[in-house]
């Protein structure tokens, strides 16, 4: 516990935003916006300071000693268990935080970009209702994301994983009165559930196989377990975990929620759906790279899914007209790049791209938010144009980010993208070609966006025209800071081939297991000529994309329409996003609804019908029989006795004539009869 002040207090990093969120949920309604700013932005800034201090102290240590762990408390003391191989182990999950080079990068990205986006939001959300709610959610998100990153075991990571999913849901549906927004939130949440099921199964399988879910024990456990490369159980774990990653990081086939997530406020899109949360899958795969490296088939799957997602999403981005949707598909595409990097074993390149992407994609989203802000809420690029002079700071920073994502040197995107493409080339030409084409498409659709928004002729309606204004300082300053990092953020990974030393890869190296010799990982003798060639190729394709976008969207705007008109079917296929939503609706959503309907019918007919109503019917039958018994037997006996009496009475009635003299006559006759009888008796002995 003597690692220096900040390293001893890494557990405080997630707690500041947690406290901020708690304050917002308890008292936020009564606080003025200024107070909300102080608490929420302040908490993230404090986290950033603590994270920065901790990372500096970590870097100050020798490379092989860059690991700090801190157990806060025993969380799940489960007891003794057996692994699948029969070894006894004590299963015990602690609420523990750790810091090593990998999550040092992540924590800096999350707190840094998060802080900038918090500052930006104070300007962007200033006139929105629910201000405190927004910042409460944002702070809750920061807490969850930092828990995810700093967790020292898979279960605690999963807590953060679900926490960010919840915050994503809450923030996508922030404008919950709008049906599309609340639907998008639900869609994101449900699609993520599918991935989470995979993750949780992977977690269980890891536990059953290795007997531990603590990150720092996984590598020794694998070594102790003598798993060979390609062990089926490792492939299974890797694939299950990757399913979790496809959900959170929007890869095929679970990417569909991310475009809809653009319903949330733009800072949310920047923070959660571009820079931080969606990269959680990349982080998780890298964190568990020791497992993935033992599963080459799973790695192949990841590479193919990544490459497929990259080009698939990019193709959809080519034709979108909503400024945020273009960026959403771009994000999916860039995440595909990251998974391509992971799949070919270039983990540090994936994380490198994650970092640079966080800078320039956050900048792009915030810039688009600034544009939308200036345009009084308009998101359709067809109604923009020629905004460059009117909002110069936004435009310049946006242009820088666009150049960065297009991969032009010496901006950040160039280095990370080049690192990925270089590693991919060593693995296979086909994957490289996909990545290379995607790079061209990226440059094209990004410059299409820029040209449609900032250049060309103005298509802005008159009402909006004179409201256009540059955003306040609270929004432009984060833009400028992010622009700086979009330029310079890649320089720490300056490749040796260009006279750098790639300190980024060296920094991450202790975290990456070298269980397998990654093909071409130890090369160098190959020379730099191929590397130069690849760089030239990617720059060239980016320039082609930029040139085409300039030709089509500034010089000759009729060309894209002509192309769309010439192949309407292809255009519509792209524009309608390959009908994937419709296919999923038909295959899964409606089938699930059918299942619900079938279960409802089962409930209604079997449970209600045969069960409940059957019992009711039986009871009614029994009671009806009982009623018959009562009516005929019990009442019958009573009525019978009454009827007998009645019958007897009706017979006797005839005597009761009511004629007095008749009665008198009877009496007389009776008396005479009795008398004559008794007199006769008396006289008998006389005879």
């Amino acid at each position: 516990m003597n690692n220096g002040f900040f390293l001893d207090h890494i557990w405080l990093i997630p707690l500041f935003p947690a406290a901020g969120a708690l304050l917002m949920f308890l008292f936020g309604k009564r606080l003025a916006n200024a107070a909300v700013n102080v608490i929420c932005v302040g908490s993230v800034m404090t986290s950033f300071v603590f994270a920065g201090g901790a990372v500096l102290q970590l870097i100050a240590r020798p490379a092989e000693d860059r690991f700090v762990q801190m157990i806060l408390f025993d969380w799940v003391p489960a007891g003794w268990m057996h692994t699948a191989a029969g070894h006894l182990f004590y299963f015990d999950v602690s609420w523990g935080l750790m810091l090593d080079p990998l999550n040092a990068v992540m924590v800096m990205v999350v707190t840094g970009v998060g802080m900038l986006i918090h500052i930006y939001s104070t300007g962007y959300m200033a006139h929105e209702s629910g201000y405190y709610r927004f910042f409460g959610y944002l702070n809750l998100f920061m807490f969850s994301m930092l828990t995810l990153i700093l967790a020292n075991n898979m279960l605690l990571l999963f807590v953060g994983w679900e926490g960010v999913g919840l915050c994503s849901y809450l923030l996508i549906g922030f404008y919950f009165l709008r049906k599309s927004a609340s639907d998008a939130g639900k869609k994101a949440f449900i699609v993520n559930r599918v991935g989470d099921a995979g993750f949780i199964l992977g977690l269980f399988l890891t536990l059953a196989t290795l007997g531990t879910i603590n990150f720092h024990q996984i590598r020794p456990a694998i070594a102790a377990g003598h798993f060979h490369v390609g062990a089926p159980v490792m492939t299974a774990i890797a694939l299950l975990l990757f399913i979790g990653a496809t959900g959170k990081s929007a890869q095929i086939p679970l990417y569909i929620w991310l475009p809809d997530a653009m319903e949330g406020p733009t800072p949310v899109s920047a923070l959660i759906h571009a820079a931080t949360m969606v990269t959680a899958g990349v982080y998780m795969v890298t964190r568990l790279n020791a497992i993935f490296q033992l599963a080459p088939h799973a790695m192949d799957v990841i590479a193919f899914v990544g490459a497929g997602t990259a080009i698939f999403a990019a193709s959809m981005g080519l034709v979108q007209n909503d400024i945020k949707r273009v960026l959403a598909y771009s994000t999916i595409s860039q995440l595909g790049y990251m998974f391509l990097a992971l799949g070919v074993g270039a983990f540090s390149a994936g994380i490198f791209h994650l970092m640079t992407h966080a800078f320039f994609k956050a900048l792009l989203f915030l810039g688009s938010g600034s544009v939308i802000h200036a345009m009084s809420g308009e998101q359709d690029m067809r109604k923009m144009g020629a905004l460059f002079k009117k909002i110069p700071i936004t435009a310049w920073t946006f242009l820088i980010a666009t150049l960065a994502i297009s991969g032009l040197p010496p901006l950040a995107g160039f280095f990370s993208k080049d690192a990925i493409l270089g590693a991919t080339f060593k693995r296979g030409l086909a994957l490289w070609i996909v990545g290379w084409i995607t790079a061209g498409m990226t440059a094209f659709y990004m410059f299409r966006l820029v040209n449609m928004t900032f250049f060309g002729k103005s298509r802005v309606s008159h009402d909006v025209e004179h409201h256009i204004h540059e955003s306040p300082k609270s929004m432009t300053i984060p833009l400028m800071i992010l622009a700086f990092f979009s330029i310079a953020g890649g320089w720490i990974g300056w490749p040796p081939g260009l006279g750098g030393s790639d300190r980024f890869t060296a920094f991450l190296d202790p975290v990456i297991a070298h269980a397998v010799e990654v093909p071409g990982a130890g090369e160098g003798a190959e020379g730099h000529s191929i590397e130069y060639l690849l760089m030239a190729a990617s720059v060239l394709v980016a320039l082609i994309g930029i040139f085409l976008a300039r030709q089509w969207y500034i010089k000759r705007p009729e060309v894209p329409e002509r192309i769309a008109a010439r192949s309407p079917r292809a255009y519509r296929l792209l524009y309608r996003k390959y009908y994937v939503d419709e296919i999923y609706d038909a295959l899964f959503v409606n089938r699930t609804k059918d299942l619900g309907t079938a279960l409802w019918a089962f409930d209604r007919t079997i449970i209600d019908g045969a069960g409940v109503n059957g019992v009711g019917w039986l009871t009614r039958l029994i009671s009806r029989i009982s009623a018959l018994w009562d009516a005929w037997i019990v009442d019958g006996i009573v009525n019978l006795s009454a009827r007998i009496v009645w019958f007897a009475g009706s017979l006797m009635r005839f005597i009761q004539t009511g004629v007095f003299s008749g009665y008198a006559l009877f009496i007389v006759v009776g008396v005479i009869a009795l008398l004559s009888y008794y007199l006769h008796l008396i006289h008998m002995p006389v005879h």
């Binding site: 009635r653 009761q656 009511g658 004629v659 007095f660 003299s661 008198a664 006559l665 007389v668």
Partner: protein
């Protein structure tokens, strides 16, 4: 000399007249009067046998019967008057309220 038989015949005649009167007449007052005849027939009988037997018991009974007849006439006439006030009739065959 009058024998016991003469008295008995007289008594029998009176009794028979009384019974016929009770059975055949409709007017309740006449029925009451006929009952008086029957009672007096009985009285004659009692007194006649009292004389014959030289005992005073029969005459004591006759006094009781006369007392009883007086009470009966009082109560009977009261009932008839009360009835007449309600139904304006004294004919026994119209007294049929209890008939079902």
């Amino acid at each position: 000399m009058l024998s016991i038989s003469h008295y008995l015949v007289l008594s029998l005649a009176l009794f028979t007249i009384g019974v016929i009167g009770v059975v055949t007449r409709r007017n309740v007052i006449i029925i009451l009067m006929s009952i008086e005849l029957i009672l007096n027939a009985v009285n004659i009988n009692l007194v006649a046998f009292s004389r014959l037997m030289g005992s005073v018991n029969g005459q004591v009974f006759a006094i009781f019967v006369i007392t009883d007849a007086a009470a009966e006439a009082a109560v009977g006439l009261g009932i008839i008057i009360a009835f007449f006030r309600n139904r304006e009739t004294v004919l026994e065959d119209e007294m049929d309220l209890l008939k079902w």
